[in-house]
Amino acid sequence: MIDTLIDITLLAFLVFTAVAIIRMRNLFVIIMLFSLYSLFSAGLFAVMDAADVAFTEAAVGAGISTVLMLGTLALTKNHEEKPPSHLARLPLLVVLVTGGALVYGTYDIPSFGDPASPAQTHVGPYYIQHGKEDTSAPNIVTAVLASYRGYDTLGEVTVIFTAGIGVMLLIGGRLMRKQKRKDQR
């Protein structure tokens, strides 16, 4: 029961934060609220028994992403968003259609927490039953991440690597020129 309460309250916080982010115009505040948003999501993940995800979201959403956004803000030195010049009707329509589709789509989705849903009966249980003896890692998430779906994780590392290369190419000139001088020496 208390789980449900926390769940609902955190969801409500998320909604408030999201609405506030849309309405606020000071980018500084937006970024801080965004970090709160991440934090609440991390809390929700924890409530929904996704410890690893909560961990990651806390580290990434509230840590790295926020710092990077602040760094951008420092460079752009533009703290106030311009007020929207007109009511964005088309985006609103698109969003409503998308949202409508999603609500329509969730009608047939198995109930929240239903242990008999396909997701809980098909592939997932295998990992829980065999994960520990297959990989000798009690944390099944790690077992799946690193072994059963290790290839996805290789892709994930590659994604990060790509981002690193990308950022270096885009704004890392200073760092690389230093490197270049060292090479020449």
């Binding site: 991440s38 956004m69 010049s85 929240f112 990308g166």
Partner: protein, 119 residues
């Protein structure tokens, strides 16, 4: 009806969150705010996944004595990967914003557009 509400409120609120993020991305002209919007959008999708993996009276999928019902680890793994992808995208997007600011002197979409047009 009441069953549907209780079984789905989580999804619905998540949908609302997604819409909020999505709306921020497509309606706002400030480049940083767009990135923030994208992040909100993605985080909400993560919530959707985790909701799918949640099991009533379950616990985190770390095998231990005394627990038999665990939540589904697969969505967790997927979302871990997706979070990483999200932060990578954010980093790149922000790097682009920095460059755009240097090149145009503004990070407002309509001002950038005006500058491009006046060429």
């Amino acid at each position: 009806m009441i069953d549907i509400i209780f079984g789905h409120y989580n999804y619905w609120i998540v949908v609302v969150l997604m819409m909020a993020g999505f709306y921020t991305v497509i309606s706002r002209g400030n480049l940083i705010k767009k990135i923030a919007g994208i992040n909100i959008f993605q985080t909400s999708v993560f919530l959707l996944y985790i909701s799918i993996g949640y099991v009533e009276k379950g616990t985190a999928p770390i095998i231990a004595e005394g627990y038999t019902v665990y939540s589904n680890p697969l969505p967790h793994v997927l979302i871990l990967t997706a979070i990483v992808v999200g932060v990578a995208t954010t980093a790149l997007g922000l790097a682009l914003v920095v460059r755009i600011k240097e090149a145009y002197g503004t990070i407002e979409e309509d001002e950038i557009h005006d500058q491009d047009m006046s060429l």
